[in-house]
Amino acid sequence: MENYMKLEIAALGENESFARSAVAAFALSLNPSFSDLSDIKTAVSEAVTNCIVHAYQTNGEENKILIVCRTQKRENGGELHIEIIDYGKGIDDVDEALTPFFTTLPDDERSGMGFTIMQTFMDGFSLHSKRGEGTRVSMTKSIGV
């Protein structure tokens, strides 16, 4: 059985905790383990924080983040697909951005480990970005396999 949810939020720091909790709550129907849920929350937090910190130059509720989740339920668990989309400045060099410890904001104590954590904690990961148009992170978590 398939299910989905679509969530649009303002790119504001106070929504980081809401966004990761909402996705984790949606995933509950797949009976995830505690460790699966932790991985999902962490990966979502990384992607949403990137939209807030990097994508938009200004800080206001006009800056939007779209989160689309789909679940495919199987007998024991299933798959969770997550897309996190912004309409911000985009990424110039995607390969460079994916490199562990690479960050364009070292002075803000950014670690450059966001994409590495998303890739390590989830089972599927892809990144699409276009300069001036925005960025889409797609991730999949397999549960109960």
Binding site: G13, E14, E16, S17, R20, S35, S38, K41, T42, S45, E46, T49, I52, V53, D108, E109, R110, S111, M113, G114, T116, I117, T120, F121
Partner: protein, 103 residues
């Protein structure tokens, strides 16, 4: 996020409780830095992260930032307690080579 400190026989203990992300880190940085400045003559500083129920990569930057600040005062920094979710992030990023875990 809750932050408090104890200071006993030259050991500055900083206790963090709650969720550590980019949003909550702003206030936490100020509080931790103020504590390190106040107890700059400590022999060692210990971060108790046992009550941190969530941490993302913001935690890596936060910890390395405090490590650098302590280093300027010559104070070695340690981590005393940590949950498994945060431990996974700190292990993969090599934070423990700078800030060792102690019991």
């Amino acid at each position: 996020m809750l932050f408090y400190t104890t200071h006993d026989s030259g050991v500055l203990k900083m206790v963090l409780q709650g969720e550590l992300d980019e949003h909550t880190a702003v206030e936490l940085r100020k509080q931790a830095d103020a504590a390190i400045d106040e107890f700059a003559s400590s022999n060692r500083a210990v971060l108790d992260l046992g009550g941190v129920s969530f941490m993302d990569s913001t935690g890596i930057g936060f910890l390395i930032g405090r490590y650098k600040k302590c280093k300027r005062y010559g104070i070695p920094l340690y981590i005393s307690k940590i949950n498994s979710q945060a431990d996974k992030i700190l292990s993969m990023s090599g934070v423990y080579t700078l800030i060792p875990k102690i019991n």
